[in-house]
Every structure is written in structure tokens, then in C-alpha cells.
């Protein structure tokens, strides 16, 4: 192939990107032309100029900014975003389709600027479906003494490992065995039993305990280490966290979830993110699976003072209030369902209206709860439902022998919640455990997973 000389060839020659044939051609031309040698020199000058520019160094905060953005996008992914599948699966961030995986779930509710009782309903269909599905389960559980759960009976060895669900495999819906004739349902209840085809309610899981009796949540101080509060897999536990910035807190929590291999339902979070209440407050809800040690580790690591300000127990909430927050409503109903099945007179009690649905056999246990009963709803429907329920809070613990022992013994009734801790802050600074809790002592029976509600709101 014959090659003709050109200035372009001269430029490539300067870069050492010419073939031997082209080299020979250029060198011959250079020998015979002063002008060509001058032009080659100019190429060199341009090159020298560009290389003389100072080297720019990336801003030192860039890695943190990258991480933060990744966390944010993982937690609240855009509809079209796609995190690496392998990465997400292995880091425990696989999106849970619904909250119906066999393990327990953590419901993360993030509010922007207002406590949950002031929040307004979420509008997402998915959330409504979830509520509907739970309502249906409540009614089913209430009307079916023969209620059975396939998953609970299945040997643990047959269950998939928690935290990782086989890719492409949808979460299995719980198999409910019920006697339709035995279901006492009101029209409203029957209406609430509509279960969308695409909605899969969270499956129940074995009961495994409740609050530690001696934990006074409201009196805890920073640095305190309290006993782990066993909960049933049926329970939904609520933890209200005051944060500096919701987005940062979400990101930090997501990191902790990932670090502890807790599966998050990012789809739900995205749905919640898009919803806004009339006063501009927002709700975020992320369902995650969590075993006891996963949760404890997560809580233990919520130590950044510039993110997490305070944790306090979510106080008794009336249905009237809960109607303003469907996610919490979901938690309430899930909890009511637990109570109805367990039939315990534990710390958390279920409103009569809920009992009517769920046949819960709980009663008020203390003055605090009784006082809540006196709250008056403002409308007739709310009046019918205006009852309170007690939510549970889980905290990391250092000494778990007793709870582990109780878990090993199987079912137990939930201990009483402390009336003086209903609204009290657990801490005014980030809680720093003295040591990482060993929730499941070596050799002890592995506890069932937890279902917890995190409620976050920004510091005012």
C-alpha cells in the first residue's frame, strides 16, 4: 500500500502512531524540508503547552460524595436506574417485591418534618395494596381458628437463607388455610379483604418473644446498653428516630442495611418518596428483612451524631392518628394480627375494633394505655376505630442469655411496655453500645427474624 505524505501523518509520526512504512516516508520528507521540520516542531510545542498545564486534583470530599450519591440512589432508585445485580444481591440489597418474603421485615418510615401521627396518607397504589392485603390477612386470621401457615411448619432447613432471595424468584405468599364460614366479617371488613392480585402480604413467621420486662426505654441514656427485646416474627416493631437530615439518614441506614446484609424493599421506598402530604411532609417506607443480629448490628452502628440525633419509642398510636399514615396503619394491622394469633396479653395490645377483626385477646395493661383509650376521634368512622395499640421497640443488647433462653423455649407472652417510656427519648445523642451485642449466643438457637418499624423525622 503506497502512503502519501500529509500533515496528519506528521502528527501521527510525532505520537509514534505510524507504521514503519509511514515512518520511513515521514523521515525522508523531513530530511528534505525545513518547513516540515518547523511544522513538526510546532506539533511538539502544542504538545508541550498542553502538558504544561497544572495537574488538577480531585476535591477531597469527592469519595464521600460518590458514596452518598450511591447510597441515595440505592435507597431511592429512579425507575430506570439499575444497580449491579450481583452487587446488590451479595450486599443484601436486593429489592423485595412486597414484604412477603419468609423472613421478618423492617418497615422504615421516614418523615420530613413531622411525627408520624401528623403525616398524611400515602397515595401509592403499592402501599394501599399492602394495607389491603394485611387487612385481608387480619380478617382471615380472625375468622379462622384453623389458621395455618405453611411456612411456619416447614422445617427451617427447607427455607431459603434469609437476606438473599434467589434471583427472579418472587416472594412466596403465605399459604393460609381458612374456613370461610367461620369468618365473622362486617361489610367494611369484607371490603377491606380485597387482595389485589399483585399484592403479597408479609408472611407470618414464628412467634419468638417480645419486650424484655426490665427495659425502660424512655430512661435510657447515651451509652446505655439494654437487653435485646425479643419480638415475634409477627410483630411489627416501631422505632422513632430523630435525624438531622432525612436523606442522609436514609443513606446511612441503607449503608448499615447493606453492611449487615439486610434486604431492603427499595421499590417501596421509591414509591413513598414520590408521595407527599398536603403540608409537604413526606413519608418513606422501606421494608427490609432482618434477623436479630442484623438488626442489632444496624442499631449499634447508628452512632453518627451528625445523622442520628435521638431515638425514642413510638408511643401509643390511635387508629385515628394512624389513618393519617398508611404505613403505620400497616404496621398496626400486622401487629394486631400477631396479637390475634398469639392471643397473648403482652405489652402491646390491640384496639377493640381491631380485635373485632383479628379476635385479639389483649387488654390494656397500664394507665398509659388506658389513657390512650380516652382519646376521642373526630368522626364517626374514626370513633369506631379510635382505639390505641402499643408498638414495640427493639434495641441492641449486650446480655441476651435470658432472651435467647426464652426464644429457645419457644413461645412466650410479650412483656409489658413501660408506661413511662411511651414518649420518652431513648437518647438525646447517638446511642453507643459498649460492645457489639451478641444477640444469638454461640450454640443457642437462632432466633426468628424481626419485623420492625423505623420511624424517622427530621430534627426541628
Amino acid at each position: 500500500m503506497s502512503t502519501k505524505f500529509s500533515d496528519e501523518l506528521l502528527s501521527a509520526y510525532f505520537d509514534g502512531e505510524t507504521s514503519p512504512e509511514e515512518d520511513a516516508l515521514v523521515e525522508q520528507a523531513l530530511e528534505n524540508s525545513t518547513e516540515l521540520r518547523r511544522r513538526l516542531d510546532e506539533v511538539g510545542q502544542v504538545s508541550d503547552l498542553l502538558r504544561s498545564l497544572p495537574t488538577e486534583t480531585a476535591p477531597p470530599e469527592l469519595p464521600a460524595a460518590v458514596r452518598k450519591q450511591i447510597e441515595r440512589e440505592l435507597l431511592l432508585p429512579a425507575p430506570t436506574s439499575a444497580a449491579p445485580r450481583r452487587l446488590r444481591m451479595r450486599s443484601g440489597l436486593a429489592v423485595a417485591c412486597g414484604a412477603a418474603i419468609s423472613a421478618a421485615a423492617i418497615l422504615l418510615i421516614v418523615m420530613n418534618g413531622a411525627p408520624v401521627r401528623d403525616a398524611l396518607p400515602l397515595a401509592g397504589n403499592q402501599l394501599q395494596h399492602r394495607v389491603d392485603a394485611v387487612e385481608a390477612e387480619l380478617a382471615d386470621a380472625a375468622g379462622s381458628p384453623a389458621f395455618d401457615r405453611e411456612d411456619a411448619e416447614r422445617p427451617s432447613a427447607e427455607r431459603p437463607p434469609r437476606g438473599i432471595r434467589p434471583e427472579g424468584r418472587p416472594p412466596a405468599a403465605p399459604a393460609l388455610t381458612m374456613q370461610p364460614a367461620e369468618r365473622p366479617r362486617s361489610a367494611a371488613q369484607a371490603e377491606s379483604n380485597r387482595v389485589p392480585a399483585d399484592s403479597v402480604p408479609p408472611p407470618p413467621s414464628p412467634s419468638r418473644g417480645g419486650f424484655a420486662d426490665d427495659v425502660k426505654v424512655g430512661t435510657l441514656k447515651p451509652g446505655d446498653v439494654v437487653r435485646y427485646l425479643e419480638t415475634s416474627g409477627e410483630e411489627v416493631t416501631v422505632l422513632e428516630v430523630t435525624v438531622i437530615d432525612v436523606q442522609r439518614a436514609l443513606g446511612a441506614l441503607q449503608v448499615l442495611f447493606a453492611k449487615n446484609a439486610i434486604v431492603a424493599d427499595a421499590e417501596t421506598a421509591a414509591t413513598a418518596e414520590k408521595t407527599a402530604s398536603r403540608d409537604g411532609n413526606r413519608l418513606h417506607a422501606v421494608y427490609v428483612e432482618a434477623t436479630d443480629d442484623q438488626l442489632a448490628s444496624t442499631l449499634n452502628e447508628m452512632t453518627s451524631p451528625d445523622i442520628f440525633v435521638e431515638i425514642k419509642r413510638h408511643s401509643t398510636v390511635t387508629i385515628e392518628e394512624l389513618q393519617a399514615a398508611q404505613e403505620t396503619e400497616t404496621a398496626r394491622r400486622q401487629f394486631a394480627r400477631l396479637q390475634s394469633r398469639r392471643g397473648s396479653a403482652g405489652a402491646s395490645r390491640v384496639a377493640p375494633a381491631v380485635n373485632d377483626v383479628a379476635h385479639a385477646q389483649t387488654k390494656p395493661r397500664d394507665a398509659d394505655v388506658a389513657a390512650d383509650d380516652e382519646r376521642t376521634p373526630t368522626d364517626s368512622k374514626a370513633k369506631d376505630d379510635a382505639q390505641s395499640f402499643q408498638v414495640l421497640v427493639t434495641l441492641p443488647t449486650e446480655t441476651l442469655q435470658e432472651s435467647a433462653r426464652r426464644a429457645g423455649e419457644g413461645r412466650r407472652t410479650a412483656p409489658a411496655a413501660k408506661s413511662d417510656s411511651a414518649h420518652g427519648p431513648i437518647r438525646s445523642q447517638p446511642m453507643i453500645a459498649k460492645s457489639r451485642p451478641q444477640l444469638t449466643p454461640p450454640g443457642e438457637q437462632q432466633l426468628a427474624p424481626l419485623r420492625v418499624v423505623f420511624v424517622l423525622h427530621e430534627q426541628q
Binding site: A12, D15, S52, E56, A58, R67, L87
Partner: protein, 183 residues
């Protein structure tokens, strides 16, 4: 390190960021002509890289793959954000010197201080087309081979060679004052 990232070790990706951030940032400052834009694009590029990490097959160098992502992010950003392009004229104004008369006698070399030359060079670079500026920066500032540049920008090697030549030629014409000064 990439395998570690894919295995779920988030600290491994942090190390990837630290390893490549300066190089990518420096190059993007040259390509985009703006430190702020470069910072944003680098950040976006790393996030996108994280999201697509499982698609990296290792057929190319990681940096080439990363830079391709960065270029896409830059293009996307540019579409969204049309900003005024700096020019030699504006650079002159900003730096308070004029080259109206390039004659050596009236243009003492000492006037062309280093920072001024750099400002002029950056302005001239900014006036190149995106295609020309990108390949020239990758060649001169990154020291990449034509083949690597072709892979990054997604065009044949011959096109890279042509673009580099044209970019140099155009830049030389825009910077003739500097050359006169140097001579």
C-alpha cells in the same frame, strides 16, 4: 478490586474511587474546561460505574471503561445544561492582557507569564469542538494511545488520528501569539 466490589465489599469501590478520581478529574477538567463540571461529572461517572460494574467484562482497561462512562455523563450533562463557552477573548479580558498586536517588538515575552499562558491555552482548548478537544486531551494529558482513545470515544483509529491532527492544527492557529512569543 473490581471482583471485591462485585462481591459486595463497598470499601473496595471506595478504593477504586480513590485510585482513579484524580486522573479522571484532571482529564475532565481539560475536556470540560470547568472544575465544577468536572467534579460533578466525575461523581456521576463513579456512581454510574458502580451501577454498571457487573457489566464490565475486563476486555478493556477499567480506566477506559470508566472514562467512557464519564464522557457519556458529560454529554448528558451538557445537554441539560447549556453554559456559555469561554473563549480566548473572554480569557483575555479576565486576565487583563491583550494580544491585539502580536508583533514581538510590542509584545514582550515577560508579559506572558505562566498563568496567563495557561489561561490562554485553556481558553483556546475550550474553543475546540468537543470531539477535537476530547481526543487531544486524552492524547496529550492522558498519554493514551490512539487505540485506547478510539475505544473510549467509540470511533476508528483513523478518525482519532485525523481528529488529533485537526485539533492540534486548530489549537496552534489559535495560539499563534504564544508561539511567536516563545520563538
Amino acid at each position: 478490586m473490581i471482583d471485591e466490589c462485585l462481591s459486595g465489599r463497598t470499601d473496595a469501590f471506595d478504593r477504586l474511587v480513590v485510585r482513579y478520581q484524580d486522573r479522571l478529574y484532571n482529564t475532565l477538567v481539560g475536556v470540560l474546561g470547568s472544575a465544577d463540571d468536572a467534579r460533578d461529572v466525575v461523581q456521576d461517572a463513579f456512581v454510574h460505574a458502580y451501577q454498571k460494574l457487573d457489566t464490565f467484562r475486563g476486555h478493556s482497561a477499567f480506566y477506559s471503561w470508566l472514562f467512557r462512562i464519564a464522557l457519556n455523563a458529560a454529554a448528558s450533562r451538557k445537554r441539560k445544561q447549556r453554559r456559555p463557552v469561554s473563549s480566548i477573548e473572554s480569557a483575555r479580558g479576565e486576565n487583563g492582557f491583550e494580544f491585539a498586536d502580536p508583533h514581538p517588538d510590542s509584545q514582550p515575552s515577560h508579559l506572558l507569564e505562566r498563568s496567563e499562558r495557561q489561561a490562554l491555552l485553556k481558553a483556546a482548548l475550550a474553543e475546540l469542538s468537543d470531539e477535537h478537544r476530547t481526543v487531544l486531551v486524552l492524547k496529550e494529558m492522558e498519554g493514551l494511545k490512539y487505540e485506547e482513545i478510539a475505544e473510549i470515544v467509540g470511533c476508528p483509529i483513523g478518525t482519532v488520528r485525523s481528529r488529533i491532527y485537526r485539533a492540534r492544527n486548530e489549537l496552534r492557529e489559535r495560539l499563534h501569539v504564544l508561539f511567536q512569543d516563545q520563538t
